[in-house]
């Protein structure tokens, strides 16, 4: 019995030990298109620059628009254009990290391709997965895509400012997600309005401390 994903898994373990040796925490961000991954990264750069050295790997299907949006923060960014591919894999991450000065980075974000299914299947060698969902997508996403939510260490529920204009039911969302993953941390934000970001940055600092201690 041999795991079909061994090739990806072995490379992911190589990435993981390389990053651990260089003391870089890597977060694999997974969401639907338009949930707010790039806006969250913009706000995170604003909140934490000067304190934490951030690098970003941008996975985009055809353009480099997300990478362009982050250029103003003067952080190292490597764009991976998947040319139609629906996810990133550990081999593309391994190549991408060669372009970084890893000793100058504490925190490496991977903005995966917008998709709730395919990216959750491929270990990239990340320290943990972060799911981002927006209220406009509906409260049923954890129930419909349990694989991602069962593996993510935290979920950002973004666009909370839009709740009055949607049929998003917070109680069902919370019940579904805690049934799928009782240990998951849930952080509610409106990245565009700057709400909830303090909690997010406090949580992120705790993860960084635990990572460097462990």
């Amino acid at each position: 019995m041999k795991n079909i994903l061994d090739r990806n898994q072995n490379k992911a373990e190589e990435v993981r030990s390389l990053l651990k040796a260089r003391k870089v925490m890597m977060i694999n961000i997974i969401s639907s298109p338009g949930a707010g991954k790039t806006t969250l990264l913009e706000r995170t750069c604003e909140l934490m620059s000067g304190e934490v050295s951030i690098g970003v790997i941008e996975g985009d299907v055809t353009t480099d628009r997300d990478a362009q949006r982050l250029k103003k923060y003067n952080i190292p960014i490597v764009a991976i254009n998947t040319e139609g591919g629906c996810h990133l894999d550990s081999h593309s991450i391994f190549k991408a990290i060669e372009h970084f000065d890893l000793d100058a980075i504490d925190l490496l974000f991977v903005e995966n391709v917008g998709n709730l299914i395919c990216p959750s299947q491929f270990d990239l060698g990340e320290t943990f997965k972060l799911a981002v969902v927006s209220t406009a997508e509906g409260d049923d996403k954890p129930a419909k895509y349990p694989m991602l939510f069962s593996e993510a260490r935290a979920v950002i529920l973004n666009k909370t400012d839009l709740i009055p204009y949607t049929n998003f039911n917070m109680d069902s969302f919370m019940a579904d997600i805690t049934a799928i993953n009782p240990r998951i941390t849930i952080i509610k934000t409106s990245a565009i309005r700057g709400e909830g970001l303090e909690k997010w940055s406090v949580w992120l600092r705790t993860q960084l401390e635990q990572f460097s201690a462990g």
């Binding site: 019995m1 395919c118 299947q121």
Partner: protein, 113 residues
Amino acid sequence: MHELRIAEDLAAMVEGYAAEAGLTKVEKINVSFGQFIQIVPDLFVAAFSEAARDTVAAGAELDIEIIPAELRCLHCGSGYRPAGDLCACGICGSKEIALIHGKELFVKSIEGE
């Protein structure tokens, strides 16, 4: 369409096994997929036939066995099969659970000559 990428990895693995076993033609490949693996079997079969087109496994039959999910309660230790998605323990109601089966993605064996 991550099925294609996984099918390509499978085709490469099968080529390796066939070479090790001295097979020149692979007729059947037996694989096991866990219930929670998000792979569409029909799409996977189509993707594999494309990925294996120019290999010893061209035209090989793909037998996909689905392994039912099995959970274990970390609180009371009961093992159980979830009715639908991941769910709380049916015995004690605890949500502290571990997935024992359901995410497999294995090649069991290949057949050929």
